[in-house]
């Protein structure tokens, strides 16, 4: 099963070299995050006033910032924050969106009420909702995850709701039900297994847009605390020095673009592999 499963999942990437490249970038990012202390040539917090704002050179490949900290080391360590926020938002969106969406589709009365509540939340533009929640909760990494996650909870709920409604109408689900299958059995045996592939697609898009959302919050000074290395924080700090030290602007931004673009590529490749009936549930924005 595992070998067959692996080839099945790699199949959409084999046909598209660029999606495979995206998968490669993500793998590198994960490795960078996992082995950051060993990979980073310097301590990301080490200050050295003698070498402040040095352009990229043999010792400091990505140059140094206004405190003389090594940009490459900070970029590598930032991968941890990026993965933490991204996976946190994905887990939050799935852990809330899947139960709400499935139950809403199976119990129409409850579903009507819950989906109306989702509509109300969707009346708040995502970034505005995140900002409002940050005001209430205070800025921190966990709260950034929550604030961004709520926006994707609503889209995930809608997608799961739509998919479950389709699945519920399938003949085999009807048959199973008429043979006396209970709701728990239906969910476990027929609904959830069929949701796995579309949710993987949704997860990659949510992960991608969570990167951009987290970077925006960091940039506004409302995300991760400024002393923590993150690509958004690095860009926020680089603002003052963009003419004197353009390399401070380049590298962290490239990392955000590379991860978000790779995730979008992967999501797109997975979406094309989906059952056509499920594909239309995804809008253009994911």
């Amino acid at each position: 099963m595992s070998r067959v499963g692996a080839t099945l999942w790699l199949q959409p990437f084999m046909a598209r070299p660029i999606a495979l490249a995206g998968l490669g970038v993500l793998l590198v990012t994960v490795l960078a995050a996992a082995f950051a202390p060993w990979l980073a040539p310097f301590d990301p917090y080490a200050i050295d006033p003698m070498i402040r704002l040095t352009p990229p050179n043999a010792a400091h490949w990505f140059g140094t910032d206004q405190f003389g900290r090594d940009t490459l080391s900070r970029v590598i360590h930032s991968a941890r924050m990026a993965l933490l926020i991204g996976s946190g938002v994905v887990v939050f969106a799935l852990a809330t969106g899947v139960p709400i969406g499935v139950l809403s589709a199976l119990f129409p009365r409850l579903g009507h009420l819950l989906m109306r509540m989702v509509d109300v939340l969707m009346a708040f533009p995502a970034l505005l909702l995140a900002l409002g929640l940050i005001v209430i909760l205070g800025p921190s990494v966990a709260n950034a995850i929550l604030a961004i996650g709520v926006g994707y909870m609503t889209t995930t709920t809608r997608i799961v709701y739509g998919l479950t409604l389709r699945l519920r109408a399938e003949t085999y689900v009807e048959a199973s039900r008429s043979m006396g299958a209970g709701t728990v059995w239906l969910i476990g045996k027929h609904i959830l297994p069929n949701l796995v592939s579309p949710l993987l697609v949704q997860a990659s898009f949510v992960f991608a847009f969570a990167q951009l959302g987290a970077a925006s919050l960091d940039f506004l000074g409302l995300g991760a605390p400024p002393e923590i290395p993150s690509w958004g924080n690095m860009l926020a700090e680089s603002r003052t020095f963009i003419t004197r030290a353009p390399w401070l602007l380049f590298f962290p931004g490239m990392m955000i673009v590379a991860t978000a673009f790779s995730l979008n590529l992967v999501g797109d490749a997975l979406r094309d592999r989906l059952d056509p009936r499920f594909r239309q549930v995804f809008g253009e924005k994911g």
Partner: protein, 314 residues
């Protein structure tokens, strides 16, 4: 049509009502007593008692909500702690910048996103289509503030073609001041043009599968005539309606861009109010943006229905 319009307006009203409860609750769940929140940290006990009585904060929460909603309907969104002025007038001061920025952004989105999306659709499946679609996905993956900072670096700092920040009103300095909005609107347009590009392409490909397109082709109408008359007209309907949503979303997406370019718009007002703990302004901006967002959605939905009677109310 009228029953549809009424139903749709009813849904919007209910959504707005529910949203207003959340927005009202905002000022009660921010850290600290709402009185301190409203008066700031420097309030005297006398002022606190006076305001508590004036706002009726000893009353049941339902009455407090009705009271607040009544004021809002009269256009009274409270007072800004920082500006010591009505919230509505503070927001109105930022509206010129925000609306002009959103309008200019939409112009870029229209002239970049729609034609390129059309080209991708017409050349569907070729390397050109793949390249353009890939480029669009790349554009959607770039943070707007990063684009903004690069535009400042290249076109303001190095080339000096455009101002790097601020925006003096066109009513005082003339239309030439619009040049202050060119770089910010380009930065904001990048991801949105990418979305419209993908939408234009997808919706043209959808229409191209319709029976009447096949009929038109079978009749021997020239290919570009089929594209122009049969596909484009119908495909653009979905695109134009997406313009409405995008415009509404821009008002809040502009938060980051307005901060980068130090534009005196509503978005920057929100960020500064968060840093100043000016909660009534934050509440007011959220309310205004949600109302605009819902109203634009309503208008778009209704006009869509008017233009295409086949669209059914779900």
């Amino acid at each position: 049509m009228w029953s549809y319009a009424l139903k749709r307006a009813g849904t919007t009203a209910v959504t707005l009502l529910a949203a207003s409860v959340i927005i009202f609750a905002f000022i009660h769940v921010v850290p600290g007593d709402p009185i301190y929140v409203l008066l700031g940290d420097t309030a005297t006990p006398d002022q606190i008692d006076a305001l508590r009585h004036q706002l009726g904060l000893d009353q049941p929460i339902i009455l407090q909500y009705l009271n607040w909603a009544g004021h809002v309907l009269e256009g009274d969104l409270g007072r800004s702690i920082f500006f010591q002025a009505p919230v509505l007038s503070v927001i109105a001061d930022g509206a010129e910048t925000s609306v002009l920025l959103a309008t200019m952004t939409m112009i870029w989105v229209a002239i970049i996103g729609v034609p390129i999306g059309m080209i991708a659709a017409v050349r569907h499946g070729t390397w050109l289509d793949q390249g353009l679609s890939g480029a669009a996905m790349l554009m959607a993956s770039i943070p707007t503030f990063w684009v903004g900072l690069y535009l400042i670096l290249i076109f303001a700092a190095w080339l000096g073609w455009f101002p790097s920040s601020g925006y003096p009103s066109v009513f005082e300095g003339g239309l030439g001041n619009l040049r202050y909005l060119i770089l910010p609107s380009l930065a904001l347009a990048a991801p949105n043009a990418a979305l419209i590009l993908r939408l234009t392409r997808a919706s043209m490909l959808d229409v191209a599968r319709e029976d009447y397109v096949r009929t038109a082709r079978a009749k021997g109408i020239r290919p570009w005539q089929v594209v122009r008359r049969h596909i484009l007209r119908n495909a653009l309907l979905a695109v134009v309606s997406a313009f409405g949503f995008t415009f509404a979303a821009l008002l809040s997406e502009a938060v980051v861009t307005e901060t980068v370019f130090a534009l005196p718009g509503i978005g920057r007002l929100v960020v500064q109010s968060i840093l100043r703990r000016d909660y009534p302004v934050i509440q007011g901006v959220i309310l205004v943006i949600v109302v605009v967002y819902l109203l634009i959605n309503l208008v778009v939905d209704l006009s869509y229905r008017l233009l295409d009677p086949r669209v059914e109310l779900q």
